[in-house]
Amino acid sequence: MTILSEYLKERRNEEWRAELRKKLKGKERTSIPRVKMPEVEPQERTKHQNVEVNLGLTEEQALVEASRCMDCATPTCIDGCPVQINIPEFVKNIERKEYGLAAQTLKKTSALPAVCGRVCPQEKQCEEQCFYTTKLGKDPIAIGYLERFAADWERESGEMSVPECAPANGKKIAAIGSGPASLSFAGDMAKLGYDVTVFEALHEIGGVLKYGIPEFRLPNSVVDVELENLRKMGVKFVNNFIVGRTASFDDLKEEGFEGFFVASGAGLPRFMNIPGENYNGIMSSNEYLTRVNLMGAASDDNDTPVLRGKTVAVIGGGNTAMDSVRTSKRLGAERSIIVYRRSRAEMPARVEEVNHAEEEGIEFMNLANPVEYFADEKGRVNKMRVQHMELGEPDASGRRRPVPVEGSEEDIDVDLVIVAVGVSPNPLIPSCLPELKVSKWGTIEVGDNMQSSIPVLFAGGDIVRGGATVILAMGDGRKAAASMHEYLSGEQKND
């Protein structure tokens, strides 16, 4: 038996868990329907960019939902979680109203539960592996909603505990980038007594959590509380500082930095390289979301403008596409259309976001791909030619490959197009470190312990994986912290 399952069994055998299991019969638990997340009505929420759609479960709802969980002897849900959160333990803590303990259980493995509870693709992870899904054919336990409930409860209770930190060991560590990978790395290193500085190129700390994901999905205040906690633990943040440009790695080494964690993300937007793509009114989702989220372009008090459209087409089917299309609706578009080359079932976006988009009146044009754009005499896009597709044989990703249907071109009037077809790794750091090994896709190559070809340099998150997820970035940060600590301690012994 593995150490993890040994540990889980031990925890499961604790008296309170055994007692709790006896409280309700299995049948009683499984006959309870899955909770519905309270939300702001679509007509209301599409008026505001910054109003969170999901309101969060009430205490009563959370208690009922938690009691659905069977506290399985083999909790398969944990296998679905990229960081192996002890899911039954936190859920059962909710069931016995120990919300603080539930939050602490989450925090043992997840540095940002309030964020992950909101943005993780649970339906492809823990909830997909839930006993209800796999064996009963019923709706899974709402693990994501419960995660959010526990984390929010702790935050709002004002009883958020600042983790204890080991005595300062005087070693200076640089974390580069301030997205989820870096933040979780910084937290763990601070706990181990290191002097951590997080460097961020932009003027805001938070990476994609701030500049990308809109507030209707992830309010800035949720991220800010996490940042404040890290500050209390002694982590320093420096914005407007591009490592490799403002100062080099060698400059930082000279300053006494002994370890580096690169989490510079997958910031480079991809375009499709089709005719007319550089017309005005066609932009990347990164540009659109950055203008609105980071620069506040939707409000008149801010100097940064953003183009508005009556008919907005968003190309892509991922989270970025959903965030962009829903933003366009909130900025007053009459028609907002998702144009995606595969079918709805293949969309990589979180299912909840696709559903929310639909409720908000977003149109879906699936199995279609733009092939050319046209513009008016001033160069502003006014028409898009799409080609329809059908699904062929499965490709390398296991999804059925879209194949163009000959002669199926159709012209659609549009005045704003947002291209959300993916991102590439940020090339900045690799370009300043020629000795750093990168893959042919431009991602930094690391071993299982997140160490790169330069021993003092570890890396994680999207710069290692290409565009991935918050939870994986966070997991990388924690793993890198553990490995770097081991590496730096080992080095000391060898001295």
């Binding site: 190129a201 407007n240 440009r245 017309y279 990164n286 940064t304 160069g379």
Partner: protein
């Protein structure tokens, strides 16, 4: 040592304006404390600044830097709300944000004779490049052009780093009456030019590029595309060079002028004109 100061104060407390001067009615020069950038910048690099927490991210080329004093010099033309607000800042004020150096540095080596063409406020980014080429041992001939005498900026500084300076004005109020291309062609016809650099309004760079193409002189132009982040993250700054899409902020700002699609570039520069005009009118009605 500077890095430590930056970490302990966080950069927002720096970026103090230590000197300010109007070079013409609409062109302002500011000198800002930025020791790390002053040390790491190279000719051709730019920075991005924000005036307040509601401000735009404004890209400006570093016109000069003093490593010892830890300052950089920026030159801006009042063209909209943000630059209008920048021109209103005073010595002692601090910029809200300042980040850099950004962009690829100019490739400077000893080539021979360099023809440096600057139009209007484009003379500012041209200055550090001219200085670099001169220091590398090149013969530098600068052609500076503007509508009229008071719009020719940095003439003395350009003279310092040029073997010869030719001034061209539209109205003949200074130097010779005529366009930058006329001055440039005169030089090209007179002597062998090994490389040309053109910085100024897009239309000026376009015609300079057409001219040097005729004479087969390798030419670099430095583009002032619309930018947001300046770190390669958004693609707002994209231009077509040699049939390929490039990002000005990370692949440029200098490109082989003969390969640049200037017409597309000019079209893209106009992409926010209506929004900018509205903002500008609102701002001017408030001040």
């Amino acid at each position: 040592m500077h890095i430590q100061t930056v970490i302990s104060t966080n950069s927002n407390f720096m970026n103090r304006i230590v000197d300010k001067e109007f070079l013409s009615e609409n062109v302002v020069k500011i000198v800002v404390e930025a020791p790390l950038i002053a040390k790491s910048r190279k000719p051709g690099n730019f920075i991005i600044l924000r005036i307040s927490d509601k401000g735009e991210r404004i890209p400006l080329t570093i016109a000069a830097a003093d490593e010892e004093k830890g300052t950089i010099t920026l030159i801006a033309q009042k063209v909209g709300v943000s630059t209008e607000k920048l021109a209103k800042m005073e010595v002692g004020d601090s910029l809200h944000d300042l980040v850099g150096p950004l962009g690829k540095a100019t490739e400077i080596s000893k080539i021979g004779t360099i023809l440096a063409c600057g139009g209007g406020v484009g003379i500012a980014p041209l200055l550090p490049i001219v200085e670099g080429f001169k220091k590398a041992g090149n013969r530098v001939i600068s052609v500076l052009a503007a509508r009229s005498k008071d719009l020719i900026i940095l003439e003395d500084e350009m003279r310092k780093w040029s073997d010869e300076v030719i001034i061209m004005t539209d109205d003949g109020s200074h130097g010779t009456k005529g366009l930058v291309t006329e001055g440039a062609e005169m030089v090209i016809k007179r002597e062998k030019v090994d490389e040309c650099i053109a910085i100024g309004p897009a239309i000026m760079m376009k015609f300079t590029s057409l001219l040097t193409k005729k004479y087969d002189i390798p030419t670099q132009a430095s583009l002032n595309s619309i930018m947001v982040d300046g770190t390669g993250m958004c693609g707002a700054c994209r231009v077509t060079v040699g049939g390929k899409t490039k990002f000005t902020c990370v692949d440029g700002p200098e490109f082989d002028a003969h390969q640049i699609d200037f017409d597309e570039m000019m079209m893209r520069l106009g992409g926010y004109r209506e929004e900018e005009k509205k903002d500008y009118e609102r701002f001017m009605s408030q001040v």
